[in-house]
């Protein structure tokens, strides 16, 4: 079906065809968009500019106007905790996004195979998405607690070799965070992929069966490419969530053990409030912003091109 938005002409078209035939600027529409414009300009743009400006000053607890050039950035990149936070975020991000995509897609494929009690399965897989990250973090913190959680239970049941103490080990803690994150988000991916799967023509399935192509080949080479938009959406939502990760880390490990689960969002919060270091915090925030933009903008652009290409072709 053609993308209707591409076929739409701007509102000034119908306006001309009105009873009076005059060209009318869509004043009402502009007025209705005023709050959005206000928010974008004042809040999103304005605060970003202010934050970047602060990062170029000597601010400590309160903003100062003393220009300091790139000194805060030099401090930032010389701070071990910052580099560790970035490193942790990348590790977490990759495991979380890939994990959620894979698990979610597998679940979607499974549920799509005309299983009984389909809505029950869907409900079970999606409910974690309705929970707060604080709730999820606390739940998994208790489950992974070596003294009262799964490890203790297994060992008390006789499985003395069983270990599940990721939150207490610096080398594994970040994977604990990823696991909790995947648990929370796989259902969302499943729903997105499922909708994409359902959008695939029934004839396609019939054709592949007639051709005798094995099921796994069908999924991999024919179905998955068609799920491009769904995958892109899921990828974008997951990445957005990963970069903002704060609540989950605070509830699950609070950055520990050591600094093994420190993340940039937490670094900024701590610098801003606990360390009273406005300059450093805003420098970190600016770096985060630039990184996020560097990822998001190309993807959005690509999606736009893709959507336009698809609607142009059909």
């Amino acid at each position: 079906m053609a993308d209707p938005s591409a076929a739409r002409s701007p509102a000034s078209g119908p306006a001309r065809s009105g009873a009076t035939g005059r060209l009318r600027l869509p004043v009402a529409a502009l007025a209705a968009l005023a709050p959005a414009w206000l928010i974008i300009l004042v809040v999103y743009l304005g605060t970003t500019v202010w934050t970047v400006q602060l990062s170029l000053t000597n601010s400590r607890m309160l903003p100062s106007n003393e220009f300091a050039g790139l000194a805060q950035y030099q401090r930032l990149f010389g701070t071990a905790r910052w580099s560790i936070s970035i490193h942790n975020l990348v590790t977490f991000g990759i495991v979380y996004v890939l994990g959620a995509l894979v698990v979610g897609s597998l679940l979607a494929i499974a549920v799509d195979r005309r299983v009984r009690f389909e809505s029950m399965w869907r409900t079970v897989f999606l409910y974690p998405y309705a929970l707060s990250f604080i709730v999820t973090g606390l739940m998994w913190q208790w489950l992974m607690n070596p003294e009262i959680g799964i490890q203790a239970t297994m060992r008390a049941a006789g499985l003395g070799w069983f270990t599940f103490d990721w939150t207490t080990r610096p080398d594994m803690a970040i994977y604990a965070v990823s696991l909790a994150g995947i648990w929370q988000s796989a259902g969302l991916v499943m729903v997105l992929m499922l909708a994409g799967l359902r959008g695939i023509d029934a004839d396609l399935w019939r054709a592949t069966r007639i051709e005798g192509i094995p099921m796994w080949r069908t999924y991999l080479t024919i179905v998955l490419p068609q799920l491009g938009p769904s995958l892109a959406t899921a990828f974008m939502l997951l990445t957005m969530g990963a970069v903002r990760t704060f609540d989950l880390v605070v509830a699950l490990t609070n950055g520990g053990p050591g600094q093994s689960t420190e993340v940039p969002a937490k670094f900024i919060m701590d610098s801003l409030f606990a360390r009273q270091d406005l300059g450093l915090a805003t420098a970190g925030a600016t770096v985060m912003l630039v990184t996020v933009m560097a990822i998001a903008v190309p993807i959005l652009y690509a999606r736009d091109i893709w959507a336009r290409r698809r609607s142009g072709r059909l």
Partner: protein, 297 residues
Amino acid sequence: MQDPFPSHARGPRPQGLTLPRIGLYGLLVVAALFFLLPAYVMIVTSFKSMDEIRAAQIFALPHMLDWSAWSKAWSSACAGVNCTGVSVGFFNSVKITIPATILSVLLGAVTGYALSFWRPPGSKLLFAAITIGGFIPLQIFLFPVVRGTAALGLYNSLAGIVLVHVIFGLPLTTLLFRNYYASIPVELFKAARVDGAGFWRIFVSLMLPLSLPMLIVAGLMQMTGIWNDFLLGLVFAGRDNLPMTVQLNNIVTTTTGQREYNVHMAATVLTAIVPLVAYFVSGRWFVRGITAGSVKG
């Protein structure tokens, strides 16, 4: 026209209990266990006594349904010197979530409608800015928005936290509605314009009724997001309006010598209940909404 989000698979049902079929159900069962495990442990533990908990049998059912942890979590658990349980936070969350959800959904609907059908000058830029804005980490905004709400006299007030939620809800709601409206045939809109209807008339009498599914969905997603928020509540809500998530964290990190896990888990479940109930009740709407909003466009 084909139903754009059919709720059942349309292929033929595979026959019988073949091995792949068993494997499929097996996979589903294992996955279900993985997802249900934490919730099961939480609920079961909240009914246990502390002695049972220390016995480290987290999968075991409680000896009896002991509700004392629940009543303590609700009304007398201590977060510092205030021993009011999470009930205070519950009502605060309600007071925050309802107006914030309604306002942000309406704003998103109007914005999406204007961007989708009317497209006044600057619309493409605005939409791109809104979308990109959704990626900006909240920490960027914290300090300036604190100053801004203070300048407006709204800091530390209910109105302030509601406003903040509306502001940061703009990207998601706009995205949902704009994509939803993109799937509504433009002929409907053109016909209404030909009839001489203006911006608001078309919105109220044509688009809003048509948007019912998306209103529900956007409402659900916003309600869930706002109820579950922690960071904004921590910074902006002030002492009198602390949402349930912040109170929960306070209670769990406040410990009086011995951590009362059963109380903590009961408090956690209580905090999770509202979005969960909304989710279970709305079921299909929730799913449809996520897909309709995200797959198109």
